[in-house]
């Protein structure tokens, strides 16, 4: 079974990969000279290393862009006291889980449909992918207009069939879910694409063998497609969960965290602190966001990939 997991995102185990630079008695063998690495090393340290360490430092200061004052861990204390933060945290988790879950389910179903023999398959595949290519801000602004409770097309259409639509983005109960809905619409194409790749790589022999054994559609889906597209599921879950945890553009374009603070997520809380000029505080927020994403995604990735080996 192992040989089937072609689309796995997991690198092959260390022993059978041809190592580019094995540790040979302290001195590394490298096909390139030192000078060859220098330009990238300079770019890397100027653009990535320095800012990363600078941000760790600035997260410990009260920073106004003009001057900074070292205040220890006060920023982190203040950040955790922020009333918007609790709401932001729960909203972030809800948003990430809802969007990621829906993308897995919808993506898989769409992929099954789009790998079947239907008319215009290539065209339909690209149609489902189009929203991924459109600018997030553009989508957000468009849906803000469509979801306007009084003049929006969505409530207009619902009104025709006699349903009094809610204030999608203005009702605190709906705002976050409406954004999640749009996020799923926009992002499901990518999940579908990954699933299509996963499903296509399942050898036809399995399906044929299953059919000979008398398996129906549900059985083949349940026993063959679902388990064998596990690597695709892992990819989709991780990608969309990370995306959901740090999602910002769509929320900002559609509600700016509103009404009030009801659709605030961690990123929008941090952004608002930047806007307010609390640079040290918001840098601390970013450090926390980084730690949270790592703390959720690392064990999850380990857990999902371990299961794959036990398949």
């Amino acid at each position: 079974m192992k040989s089937v997991t072609i689309t796995s995102i997991r690198p092959r185990s260390r022993s059978d990969a041809t190592p580019a630079a094995p540790a040979a008695g302290g001195k590394f063998y490298t096909p390139y000279s030192f000078w060859f690495y220098l330009p990238t090393a300079v770019i890397y340290s100027v653009l990535f290393l320095v800012p990363t360490f600078a941000s760790f430092y600035y997260s410990l200061t009260r920073w106004s862009l003009f001057e900074s004052k070292f205040i220890g861990l006060d920023n982190f204390v203040l950040f955790f006291q922020e009333p918007a933060l609790v709401k932001g945290f729960t909203n972030t988790l809800i948003f990430a889980v809802v969007t990621s879950g829906s993308k897995v389910v919808l993506g898989l179903l769409l992929a099954v449909l789009l790998t079947s023999r239907i008319v215009g398959r290539g065209y339909l595949r690209s149609v489902v992918f189009f929203p991924v290519l459109v600018s997030t801000i553009g989508v957000g602004l468009l849906f803000q207009v469509l979801m306007n409770p009084e003049q929006g097309l969505i409530n207009g259409a619902l009104g025709v069939i006699g349903i009094d639509g809610p204030g999608w983005l203005t009702d605190p109960k709906w705002a976050l879910m409406s954004i999640a809905l749009v996020d799923v619409w926009k992002g499901v194409g990518l999940a579908t694409l990954i699933y299509i790749a996963g499903i296509v790589s399942i050898p036809r022999e399995y399906m044929e063998a299953a059919r000979v054994d008398g398996a129906g559609s549900w059985e083949s889906f349940r026993r063959i497609v679902l388990p064998l597209s596990r690597p695709a599921t892992v990819t989709v879950v991780i990608l969309s969960l990370i995306g959901g945890l740090r999602s910002f553009e769509l929320i900002w374009a559609m509600t700016r965290g509103g009404p009030g603070f009801t659709s605030d997520v961690i990123s929008s809380v941090i952004y608002k602190q930047y806007q307010a000029g609390f640079y040290g505080l918001s840098t601390a927020g970013n450090v926390i966001l980084f730690l949270v994403v790592t703390a959720i995604v690392l064990p999850l990735s380990w857990f999902l990939n371990r299961k794959e080996v036990n398949l």
């Binding site: 060859f36 300079v42 862009l65 203040l78 306007n148 409770p149 605190p172 608002k272 000029g277 609390f278």
Partner: protein, 442 residues
């Protein structure tokens, strides 16, 4: 291997261009200097229609008086996004020659002594309004020249609605609410109070515009507030603003689409008589009249009513300031100084009045409002003429202003949060700002 060497060259080239472009970015501004006696300066203002029109008119009239100096107008977004742009440009030394920015607490937050050029030595300094000067002073030096007029944070009301129902301009909150009840009961479908939470800043007026009434009841509120001794939640006068915001929602006086409507929707309702009251800054009047010319006669203004009719008065916002950053030097500096002197002169005021209806009286001695000002602006004058009937908004008297007030007032005005709770939350919000500024007592 051939591919290898080529990509090395490419990488080196890429790195080289990066370094080169990093070096030249800072010197871009000075590349267009020189030329035979002609100087060009850049003026940064906000991207609101009316502001752009005004800036372009000023630039045009200034060049007519000072041939050889041209002013290029550049725009930036307003609100917190604009604050960020100003701060970033100042801290990177990338600021234009002259820029327009808020006075009061926001002005204090851009480190004036470090980033701006003092203008104390300029001849027009004596002609500037004292209240205005206070709001652009840091460490005893004046840094800004006024652009635009004073603004009132008040209630704009529909005169036809008032005449039809025989209402009287209210001076107390209970009279105001009685009027609202009558408007609602009239059954014309007129919204008693217009609220437009689609643009969150418009939600703050019941709180910010009420400050004259607060200071009438507690004269030392601003001082105590700066020292962390007075709070919105615990001051009986200050918490009223939040309570009023909640009341108009609880009694169903808001327009039906209050949650999604934006400023232009609100102005339309007011100008067409679909809404009776709109608590807002008088700065929006010019915009409204540009779209609905009739509104010059059909829309009036009164100060936010408080508890005591005798002490009722108008809360004022001072004009914006024009500032010269320390990065402006040489010919451009001279030109920039001349530009400030022009804007802060009667000619400058005249030029601004040509560009559109003024938002209120100017802060420069000798500047007169044109005779045909809209009714709403005319209604401000009695408050200004009567001693003690107007005071500056809190943000000009205290550097403490929290960034989240607009979200909080949206919540209170939408029934998501209670007034008292909202006020307490705002008190928490300002704490960060005060600490950031390093104020004593926080």
């Amino acid at each position: 291997m051939r591919i290898g060497t080529r990509s090395t060259a490419l990488a080196v080239f890429a790195a080289g261009t990066l370094i080169l472009s990093a070096c030249s970015a800072g010197s871009l501004g000075s590349s267009d200097e020189g030329g035979s006696g002609s100087v060009s300066i850049t003026y940064l203002t906000t991207n609101q229609d009316q502001d752009v029109k005004e800036a372009e008119q000023l630039a045009k009239d200034f060049t007519a008086k000072n041939p050889g100096i041209t002013v290029k107008v550049e725009t930036r977004p307003g609100g917190t996004e604009g604050d960020n742009i100003i701060k970033t440009r100042l801290s990177t030394g990338d600021m234009v020659d002259v820029f327009n920015y808020n006075t009061g607490s926001l002005f204090q937050a851009i480190a004036p002594p470090k980033n701006l050029l003092p203008i104390d030595d300029q001849p027009y300094i004596g002609d500037l309004d004292e209240n205005f000067k206070k709001t652009v002073t840091a460490d005893g030096k004046v840094y800004g020249a006024p652009v635009g007029g004073f603004m009132g944070g008040a209630v704009l009301y529909s005169i036809p609605v008032y005449t039809k129902l025989g209402l009287k301009v209210p001076t107390t909150w209970s009279e105001f609410m009685a009027n609202n009840a009558k408007i609602k009961a009239s059954g014309d479908g007129v919204a008693p109070v217009i609220q437009t939470y689609g643009e969150t800043w418009t939600s703050q007026l019941f709180v910010l515009g009420d400050f004259h009434n607060v200071s009438a009841a507690e004269p030392d509120f601003a001082d105590k507030y700066t020292k962390n001794e007075a709070k919105y939640a615990t001051s009986p006068a200050a918490v009223k603003g939040f309570e009023h915001t909640q009341q108009v929602h609880d009694l169903g006086y808001e327009n039906k689409d209050f949650a999604s409507a934006k400023l232009p929707d609100g102005l339309k309702m007011l100008a067409t008589g679909k809404g009776a009251h709109y608590p807002i800054l008088s700065g929006v009047v010019a915009n409204m009249i540009a779209t609905y010319p009739d509104a010059a006669k059909t829309v009036g203004l009164f100060a936010l009513p408080g508890d005591d009719a005798a002490k009722n008065g108008l809360t004022l916002w001072t004009p914006g300031g024009l500032y010269i950053p320390t990065t402006t030097t040489g010919d451009k500096l001279e030109a920039a100084k001349k530009f400030l002197a022009f804007v802060a002169s009667p000619d400058g005021c005249k030029s601004q009045s040509t560009a559109g209806a003024p938002t209120g009286p100017y802060a420069v001695k000798g500047c007169e409002l044109p005779a045909d000002v809209p009714q709403a602006i005319k209604d401000m004058q009695p408050y200004l003429d009567k001693p003690g009937a107007s005071s500056l908004a809190l943000e000009f008297l205290s550097p403490v202003k929290g960034p989240s007030l607009e979200q909080i007032t949206v919540e209170v005005g939408s029934g998501i949060r209670k007034a008292k709770d909202g006020a307490a939350r705002y008190d928490e919000d300002v704490k960060k700002q005060a600490q950031q500024l390093g104020l004593a007592g926080w």
